[in-house]
């Protein structure tokens, strides 16, 4: 059996195919990733984006649509995936995928472009409690992206630059708009870019940490979402959470799609 999970995020569409391996034991032994695909929809409308991402993913994995038993969609655009058999929220899908990747995880920190959230999950990957940001980008990847633009650094350079700083510069503003004006002030006062980058990522981590604390921090902690690729943020997050280790899964941006594919395999979404 092959199932599919499709994550219609605000910036990207991710598809994961999951294949049953006919092996008894833990889910990690029974299921293997058959293929994955990420697409930046650019100017495609959501209907077209879902179709195209799915077709490209099928081609990449060398399988046909007929082989897919069940499709579950997730992400902010999940209801626009017309060919999905069911949909699941990104909170539920992320927790399921995260616990699959790290079976000891109890606290899932998910920071994508649009939202940051903390999730408490049980051993089956079911959500026990969750908290997330609302109409505010200050605890999300979009905030870091916006600030990297203000510093005229690529996102990759932005994250790496922050690791070269050992300064702690508090950013008082909670709002992206006001934070940007603080960044501009720091630039005008000739503050090194690496110090500003660290200040920004510390601020994002602090906001995310506040959400995670609402549900409680319990080992093990796993970080999923695009911000896993930002080593500066990972460092800041560890400091804010006060933990020695944060699990960083492989293919972090696919975890919600993976969770959706697992839920598709359950057949109960």
């Amino acid at each position: 059996m092959i199932t599919a999970g499709i994550d219609m995020g605000s910036r990207t569409v991710k598809v994961v195919f999951l294949e049953e391996l006919k092996v008894d034991g833990a889910p990690q032994l029974r299921w293997g990733v058959k293929g994955k695909h990420i697409m930046f929809p650019e100017d495609l409308d959501p209907d077209q984006a879902a179709d195209k991402a799915f077709e490209d993913a099928l081609k990449g994995a060398g399988i046909s649509r007929d082989q897919i038993t069940r499709v579950v969609s997730t992400g902010s655009g999940r209801k626009q995936v017309k060919f999905a058999n069911a949909d699941i929220t990104e909170v539920g899908a992320g927790a399921r995928g995260a616990v699959f990747m790290c079976p000891t995880a109890k606290t899932v920190v998910d920071v994508g472009a649009e939202e940051g959230r903390g999730v408490k999950a049980n051993a089956e990957g079911k959500v026990v409690d969750f908290a997330g940001n609302e109409k505010c980008a200050a605890g999300a990847g979009a905030f870091a992206e916006s600030m990297s633009r203000a510093l005229q650094l690529s996102l990759k350079d932005f994250g790496e630059a922050s690791l070269r700083s050992d300064k702690t510069i508090p950013m008082n503003a909670q709002c992206t708009v006001f934070a940007e004006s603080e960044v501009v002030s720091l630039i005008h006062s000739a503050t090194p870019k690496e110090d500003i980058a660290k200040a920004v990522l510390d601020a994002v981590a602090s906001r995310v940490c506040a959400m995670v604390r609402r549900v409680g921090i319990e080992d093990d902690v796993i970080l999923i979402g695009g911000m896993v690729h930002n080593p500066g943020f990972v460092q800041s997050l560890k400091g804010a959470l006060g933990v020695d280790k944060v699990h960083l899964p492989d293919m972090p941006e696919y975890i919600s799609a993976l969770g959706a594919a697992l839920i598709a395999a359950d057949g109960d979404a």
Partner: protein
């Protein structure tokens, strides 16, 4: 999907008509030589009732909520208040009210009907400033404030009750002096009795929702409780609640459900985002019914702990043989009655509110709580995250969503529905259907 029979509430239409008539009466008060006054839904409105049977009020919060549903006019009011210089993070109802004065526009037609006086209580941090600024905008409308912030009811002392009672008695004299009318004690005592009936009956109606299936859903309850926020001391309000209670009891006896596919019961907190009550209909797609909240039950309902330890409507004084024959007697009982209002207690300690919420969870069979982090009302949002912690510590599933009761710029329907989806998943619910 549908497990229970359902039918429309018969008195719902009458509630709508009474509400509309209230606003028309206020606008037309002057045509028959009547008086108009304005104040909050918590104003001690039995006191101005002593001025005569032709005295009409305009309560500020329901007025703001009414305008919030008219998104175009609401935006005009918000813009007018902000252009005048009022800050955007102030109480949304208050800004809407001021905007309506500044625009000189009344949503029920014509110009804003200027009150003869403002009559207000002070407990919420915005209430006194609201009518102080309104008075200025209206070119010095006479205004009287009664400070009711004397601490939690469980800590009430004789001195504290005296403090509020004496202000009430002083108000009677102020009203005579300000309006030139003689204060009629009989009318006042009658109004006090009406208010006690209204608020106790409303609590009795809410208590019926302990039944499964719930005879009322919270969205419908908003159309009913509003009458007490408009004119709780009027006979028409008390009589309506008696009629409503009879009907709700009949629904319970016949097993009539508000939500036919009821599988899960939630409760909310604070005012909802009035322009987006469809959130409550969205819950129904999962078979979830919001059975009420401390806000809906206790903003106007007056409760007591019954001998068996459960929460129920407060017993009327005359049912306990307590007499109310003089202005002083009535005022003292009236102030005591109001000081026991559940929604006044959290101003002093969020733990009091948490305990009341836990009572509702237990007695109304609530499976999860949806807390509205209402940016539009500092007063009712005070301590709400403390409440969240207290509920979560008791094992009650809680979700939060941010919004604003009266300023749609601070509410995101899609994101809130998404959060509801996650919460429903957490409660193990799947969608029964989707509204078209």
């Amino acid at each position: 999907m549908a497990n229970y029979p359902t039918e429309q509430l018969k008195c719902w239409k009458k509630a709508k008509e009474l509400r509309e008539q209230y606003y028309i009466n206020f606008a037309k008060a002057k045509e028959k030589g009547g008086l108009r006054w304005s104040g909050s839904a918590w104003a001690l409105d039995a006191i101005p009732a002593g001025l005569g049977n032709d005295v009409y009020s305009l309560t500020g919060e329901p007025y703001g909520a009414t305008i919030a549903v008219d998104k175009k006019f609401n935006k005009e009011c918000q813009d007018a208040a902000e252009s005048y210089g009022f800050a955007r993070d102030l109480c949304a109802y208050m800004r809407t009210y001021w905007g309506s004065i500044i625009l000189n526009k009344y949503p029920f037609g014509g110009e804003f009907p200027k009150p003869d006086f403002n009559f207000q209580t002070q407990i919420c941090c915005s209430h006194a400033k609201w009518y102080q600024a309104a008075s200025k905008l209206e070119h010095d409308t006479p205004t009287f404030f009664i400070d009711v912030s004397v601490g939690a009811y469980k800590d009430l002392t004789t001195e504290r009750l005296d403090y509020v009672t004496n202000q009430g008695l002083e108000a009677c004299e102020w009203l005579e002096k300000t309006t030139g009318r003689k204060f009629n004690d009989e009318l006042f005592i009658e109004a006090v009795k009406n208010e006690m009936r209204s608020t106790s009956l409303w609590a009795a109606i809410c208590a019926e929702n302990k039944a499964k299936p719930a005879p009322l859903d919270e969205k419908t309850m908003y159309s009913l409780y509003v009458l007490a926020t408009l004119s709780k001391s009027s006979k028409w309000c008390a009589d309506f609640y008696q009629e409503c209670l009879d009907e709700v009891k009949d629904r319970v006896a016949r097993g009539i459900a508000a939500v036919p596919n009821e599988r899960c019961r939630v409760m909310s907190d604070t005012q909802p985002p009035w322009g987006f009550l469809k959130v409550f209909r969205y819950l129904e797609e999962y078979g979830a019914v919001s059975v009420g909240s401390l806000y809906t039950f206790g903003l106007e309902g007056i409760w007591e702990t019954k001998p068996d330890g459960t929460w129920g409507p407060r017993t009327l004084p005359w049912e306990k043989g307590i007499e109310m024959n003089t202005r002083e007697q009535a005022m003292r009982l009236y102030c005591d009655w109001n000081l026991s209002k559940p929604q006044w207690q959290h101003f002093y300690d969020p733990r009091i509110k948490t305990e009341m919420m836990k009572t509702i969870v237990k007695e109304w069979g609530v499976d999860g709580v949806m807390l509205h982090l209402n940016r539009g009302c500092e007063g009712l949002s005070i301590g709400i995250m403390e409440n969240r912690l207290g509920l979560a510590a008791s094992g009650v599933p809680v979700m939060t969503f941010e919004g604003n009761m009266g300023d749609e710029r601070e509410f995101d329907l899609g994101r809130t529905q998404n959060r509801v989806d996650s919460f429903m998943e957490t409660l193990g619910l799947k969608r029964d259907f989707a509204h078209a």
